[in-house]
Symmetry: C2
Subunit: 245 residues, 2 copies
């Protein structure tokens, strides 16, 4: 059995997220497994670096799968792109060591949350969160600085029962404003459920003036979700990149 | 009555083109006139620099309308953007001289036709023409050179009865290839019905090797539509800019 690392882009608008689970229809994992299983003539499983939620997009999601095939990686890519829907694309495939696992081996992930303060970007409208609020990007940047480093992010997540550690490291948060779009890029060791959307929402509330930056310190300290800001919708979130050693 | 020049962007995917006509529903002109008429409390007409066909997009269409209103141009823009659908945006409004007419005063228009030779650009997929053909961009560029200048373009159009002149000037054609996308930018004095899509299709056929560049000379000479290349679909076409004196 060979192990393949695959880099994927998708418009998540109409999918119920990455992960196949129970009776949930129309997941990205299911789409990939159907095509791979057809290609190999047997059931194939594929594992992503992380589940993306319903409606979340990816520019560079990474996954891996094991299979036996006579095709070389380029031929697998052509096959997958021919049979996958038009809102999903394989950007790259390479054969990797048997030990490689897209989730367990991931070192850093970059997510982007995009807020549109204008209606003018009609061609990007499905991949942003549109608002008429007037945001202070300076206030958002100052608050974002407080999130850098290693902290318990449970208060910025939808995690309820603590089975595993909720400590994560944020290496960098970069906020850019250009032509009416505010892009929040967050690079971290990994992210808890809903963490990026709740952080983006808290920065949004701070940018609007509904909260002050001190809420960041408080929620990192007390871990109380209800004291953090709103959660922004899935449509503005994009998994940009997953990095490995 | 004041005269307003308005710059507009739209995702044309679900519209039956710009022009309101007969029983055709869901035109962009109708969408604008409905909102403007509501704003002014009387029927308002709006005139675009040119009709875009069903499914064609615009980054910078220009139109004009005359009305009486207490609102200043910025307030009109806010009003229109609030009531127009999300796939249509007003980018700019300015008051202009009474003589200004968006179509009659237009000096140059730039259209872009985008061909995607890869599936990877999932977020742009509705605004390109996707092909698996292998295209020679050099051959396309050499053929495009022959189109520059002032010619009778009837053979590259859907015009049947010649009521008006079919002579137009193409100032420039620029073809760029980047990351699997081929962008054909055509700047001209004006364009006949379907002219950009038939030119793009003829260059496409030449790029594929199904035709040679000499077809350009022949069709400019004999004006026979059936000797030119295929017409590419509306989804890949975008009106980029309209220039005035």
């Amino acid at each position: 059995m060979k192990n393949y690392k695959i880099t994927i882009s998708y418009d998540g608008t109409k999918y119920n997220g990455w992960q196949r689970q129970g009776n949930t229809k129309n997941t990205l994992q299911e789409k990939f497994e159907n095509v791979l299983s057809k290609m190999c003539g047997k059931q194939i499983e594929i594992f992503a670096s992380g589940r993306t939620d319903a409606g979340v997009h990816a520019l560079g999601q990474v996954a891996n799968f094991k299979c036996e095939t006579d095709k070389n990686p380029d031929e697998i890519m052509v096959y997958l792109n021919a049979y996958l829907p038009e809102d999903v694309a394989v950007l790259d495939i390479e054969e990797v060591q048997d030990m490689f696992h897209s989730r367990l081996c991931a070192k850093r992930k970059t997510y982007r949350y995009t807020i549109a303060c204008t209606k003018k970007h009609v061609f990007a409208r499905k991949f942003v969160y549109r608002t008429d609020e007037v945001l202070s990007v300076d206030a958002m940047r100052q608050a974002a600085n407080k999130l850098r480093g290693t902290h318990d992010f449970i208060g910025f997540s939808a995690v309820k029962k603590i089975k595993k550690s909720t400590v994560r490291t944020i290496y960098d948060i970069d906020i850019r404003q250009n032509d009416g779009l505010i892009e929040i890029d967050i690079i971290g060791s990994g992210f808890l459920h809903h963490m990026v959307r709740i952080i983006a929402g808290t920065l949004f509330d701070i940018g609007c003036g509904r909260m002050t930056a001190s809420v960041i310190d408080e929620v990192l300290e007390n871990g109380v979700r209800s004291e953090a800001g709103t959660m922004l919708p899935a449509c503005g979130l994009m998994l940009l990149e997953v990095e490995y050693k």
